[in-house]
């Protein structure tokens, strides 16, 4: 322990998750199944109209239901929280609707009761009347619609890049991000070929199996929240702001999450349960049903018009990207998706002249936020479909066309930031190799046709963000790690323990990772965007290194020479005369970052690291039914050096299969603003039969030089390329091009019939 050599060996171990035993025995604790003494249950009464003024809320019949404790509306909320608007990017979302409702499913009132069934029954007796207003649902229409979802923009001030929006009125545009590099107009004027395509993605949602759940226990001078949150520090800060309290009076405890995928980010039910507990002066729990998740947060539907200029050699000389993000009724983190993903809209290609316009739009739909990729899967869907369409039109091999245009190490990305430690070429080549791209391919015959496709993508990590960690070494040599990264299944506790073990030379399974509790775990920006392993990994490394340095000092202090193998417990005994004392190390990490120039979107340092992914798909299509069978799915990624290869592989595989659902069948059907398939019976997600017959996952040999032990994040990357790889394979098989997700049998069949000049009638 006191030696300066690093036997380590913890990084790179395929260790089972630290909490594995609790999970297989059913003993892992989740907020959704927690109860605390004296607790009331809240059931939410929701808006049935997409846009309207609230005329009246009749709670009389509900109040008369035996066992009802109380009924809470915005009027009650305003008494305890005078300015009850919350949100990470904009302070636009009321805890309960005030005067207006802006989407179907918006919380309007809450019934509280000790028996959740009583609360449910009473909730159904509430009657609200609305003056309906015209509504806007489509993101492109929202640009120019006379219907405005909000009267004025209210940026939160949390993010410096949104401040300029303050006070803008009569608009649905919550953010307009622009990037200008080179002279795109000139390049288009001189181009031999111009390709102009538009792609759309549908509304889908995270659907974690532990639906949203939060419990608040408000006292006069303190508040404790138990919540299924990916960002406990943000919850604490935002609740403290709403209450006008210092942070130290708000405590946020987060057990394991039953899935997150971006749904449980920033602030969701926490503001509501806080208000309810303050009104009722009792602990209150709100745990949503599966159906209610459809009224809470979704992925952004998007429209992306992409236009490329190509010269005689097949080089892309210019690209114009216009992306419209359907953010729903409240901004959530949408404006940041618009910018932070927007700037990679031109893809992993070396293009001198780029224009990007990326718009966050308010509409009268369930709010949209981050979903495993922060907008990147929507962009890659478009630009990698577009890439194939160009290659096909120019009769170039899609792989060769990509090789010709790929962004290489040391070259500037659209922002001007130079690519470093981004194994794009390697990932592309590994996909090609695993797909046996140069070998003959069986294309099927008769009514079964086969095809194959590939895709490649990059993402920048959200920046700048901060993580803080504490490592506490006890006098017996055991240690605890305090870090706010939320383990929602991605294995972060295990990976962070491996980092501690590596530095302090102890088996990772002996490191205890403290459950998230903002009273003891220090600040972390949030578990999002594949940032944690890099940022928190560094903070944890620094904290452990500080412990190591202090331990060496303690050893010298008690006269033990460097290089001695005296156990840690002996050093403490020598120092304190008994098993006593602690060594505490802290680490804070915030990477360098240069904000983009507001006029051009350019910056020399857009991100501390790049995420790189590629995918290849082989499909088999039944031309009679349009049914697509995925016979092979290859996922390749650059994650630097994997801290835990086994967990990394699970992350790649899980992300790809999740995206397979978003690609092939998942879709929220919406009629007049009303979701018509808000249940697992009507909204299909991937099951065991949807796993491709062959699925291979690979991380390429790589090293992230500024990463902790050469590592970087991996949680999202395998979602990026699945959709375009499959669409490209479908085109390869049957010569039809789908430009809208999902790629379900109906869409494929319609396209096949249209191609044959025998179109299906509209349903």
């Amino acid at each position: 322990m006191t030696t300066t050599t690093i036997p380590g060996g913890q990084v790179g171990r395929s260790l089972s998750r630290l909490e594995a035993q609790d999970k297989v025995t059913g003993r892992a604790e989740y907020t959704h199944t927690m109860r605390i003494p004296g607790m009331l249950y809240g059931k939410i009464f929701r808006s049935t109209v997409a846009h309207g003024r609230i005329k009246s809320i009749d709670t009389g019949a509900a109040r008369a239901v035996p066992g009802v404790h109380s009924i809470v509306t915005a009027e009650d909320v305003l008494k305890v929280i005078p300015n009850p608007y919350y949100g990470p990017a904009f302070h636009d979302q009321p805890i309960l609707a005030i005067d207006k409702v802006r989407y179907v499913g918006e919380p309007v009132a809450v019934v509280l009761a000790f028996d959740p069934h009583v609360a449910e029954e009473a909730m159904q007796q509430i009657v609200a009347e609305y003056d309906e207003l015209p509504a806007v649902y489509d993101e492109v229409e929202a640009m120019t619609s006379p219907v405005h979802v909000h009267d004025a923009l209210k940026p939160a001030g949390t993010f410096a890049d949104l401040k300029h929006l303050t006070g803008r009125k009569q608009t649905n545009i919550a953010l307009d991000f622009r990037l200008r590099r080179g002279d795109a107009d000139k390049a288009f004027a001189e181009a031999l070929h111009v390709f102009d395509h538009t792609f759309r993605t549908q509304k889908v949602l995270h659907l974690p199996f532990e639906p949203f759940a939060s419990i608040a226990d408000a006292r006069d001078r303190s508040l404790t929240l138990y919540t299924a949150s990916q960002s406990p520090s943000f919850v604490r800060i935002e609740i403290a702001r709403l209450l006008g309290w210092p942070e130290n009076r708000v405590r946020v405890k987060v057990p394991f999450l039953g899935g997150g995928y971006g749904a449980k980010l920033y602030i969701k039910l926490e503001a509501l349960v806080t208000a309810l507990s303050m009104v009722a002066r009792r602990p209150v729990k709100v745990a949503l049903t599966m159906e209610e998740q459809f009224y809470t947060i979704t992925k952004h539907p998007s429209t992306f018009r992409i236009k490329s200029a190509v010269d005689k050699d097949g080089r892309i000389t210019a690209r114009k990207c216009e992306v419209w993000w359907n953010g729903g009724a409240y901004a959530d983190i949408g404006p940041r998706v618009t910018q932070k993903s927007g700037f990679t809209a031109s893809g992993p290609y070396d293009i001198d002249n780029v224009e990007i316009d990326s718009y966050a739009l308010y509409t009268n739909l369930t709010p949209a936020g981050a979903l495993r990729g922060f907008g990147i899967p929507q962009l890659v869907w478009a630009y990698e479909s577009h890439t194939d369409m160009i290659a096909r039109a120019l009769k170039l091999d899609p792989l060769e066309f990509r090789r010709k245009n790929i962004l290489r190490e040391g070259r500037p990305q659209a922002t001007g930031t130079v690519l470093k430690d981004a194994a794009i070429e390697t990932v592309l080549e590994r996909v090609a190799e695993r797909m046996n791209w140069t070998q003959p391919f069986d294309r099927g015959k008769g009514g079964v046709r086969r095809g194959r496709g590939i895709g490649i993508a990059l993402k920048a990590v959200i920046s700048p963000t901060t993580s803080v960690a504490i490592v506490n070494l006890y006098a017996d040599g055991s240690c605890v790690l305090y870090c706010g990264t939320v383990d929602m299944g991605q294995g972060s506790d295990t990976a962070m323990a491996q980092v501690v073990g590596e530095v302090l030379n102890m088996p990772a399974e002996t490191v205890r990772v403290m459950q998230r509790d903002t009273d003891v775990t220090p600040y972390d920006m949030g578990t999002l965007g594949s940032r944690s392993l890099f940022h928190m990994g560094h903070a944890v490394r620094l904290a452990a290194e500080e412990v190591r340095v202090k331990l060496q000092a303690l050893a010298r202090d008690v006269g033990v020479l460097d290089g001695s193998n005296i156990p840690v417990s002996e050093l403490f005994k020598k120092k304190y005369g008994m098993q006593a004392g602690n060594i505490v190390g802290t680490g804070t990490y915030k990477p360098d970052y240069v904000p983009p120039d507001p006029a051009t979107g350019l910056t020399p340092n857009a991100t501390p690291f790049w995420m790189i992914a590629g995918a290849g798909a082989e499909v088999e299509i039944d031309t009679e039914t349009g049914h697509v069978r995925i016979t092979r799915l290859i996922n390749v990624a650059d994650c630097g050096k994997p801290i835990n290869p086994k967990i990394v592989e699970s992350q790649l595989s899980g992300a790809a299969l999740m995206q397979l659902g978003f690609t092939m069948f998942e879709k929220m059907h919406i009629d007049g603003g009303q979701v018509t398939n808000a249940s697992l019976a009507d909204y299909k997600i991937p099951g065991i039969f949807d796993v491709p017959i062959v699925m291979e996952n690979e991380t390429v040999e790589a090293y992230q030089h500024n990463g902790p032990f050469g590592a970087k994040g991996i949680g999202e990357v395998a979602t990026f390329c699945v959709s375009p790889a499959i669409a490209n394979a479908i085109d390869d098989a049957v010569g039809v091009r789908l430009t809208e997700l999902p790629l379900n049998p109906e869409a494929v069949l319609r396209a096949l019939r249209a191609k044959d000049g025998n179109p299906l009638e509209d349903a």
């Binding site: 025995t25 199944t33 532990e210 899935g259 299969l657 065991i688 039969f689």
Partner: protein
């Protein structure tokens, strides 16, 4: 709301009684009266399998199974599989193969795998997919789960059943 009645049944090998109302499902009863949280309600429609328990040895969706109907029955939950000293081979296999991420659906998969192996000690891929099609995993750990079932089958065969 209707009146409660007392039911008697066997829970994880022990005779128990519970006060249940006609609308209470087995998940709620297990959580509120026995503090067993391994069966969890998720979809509430019997589609995801997160709430799986065994009633008279058969896997059922406890979110759709009304509590009064287990009167006189034998109910087994995931909590009954491991002893103080040892995990069930299925649980061991799930850990060894990393067959879960968030863990919310895991008890359901573990119980359903147990039923599969009771009926088909050496299942092929089709049997595995068939039996587990009623269990969903949003983290999509399916490839690892299929692997776990195979490892569990080998473990069971090399070990006498208690």
């Amino acid at each position: 709301m209707s009146a409660a009645r007392t039911i008697r049944f066997t829970l994880n090998g022990e005779p128990v009684t519970a006060e249940v109302k006609p609308h209470h499902n087995v998940v709620e009863m297990l959580q509120t009266q026995f503090e067993l949280h391994g069966a969890r309600e998720s979809c509430g429609q019997g589609l995801c399998g997160c709430c799986t328990v065994l009633v008279n040895g058969r896997a059922v969706s406890a979110c759709l199974y009304l509590a009064p109907f287990v009167d006189g029955a034998e109910v087994t939950t995931v909590e009954h599989l491991a002893t103080r000293d040892a995990l069930d081979p299925v649980q061991e296999a799930f850990i060894e193969t990393g067959a879960f991420q968030c863990g919310y659906c895991t008890p359901g998969f573990v119980l359903m795998t147990g039923q599969l192996l009771d009926e088909h000690p050496d299942p092929d891929d089709d049997q595995i997919r068939h039996y587990l099609t009623g269990n969903l995993c949003r983290c999509a750990a399916y490839p690892e789960i299929i692997n776990a079932v195979k490892v569990a089958a080998r473990k069971r065969q090399s070990r006498p059943t208690p």
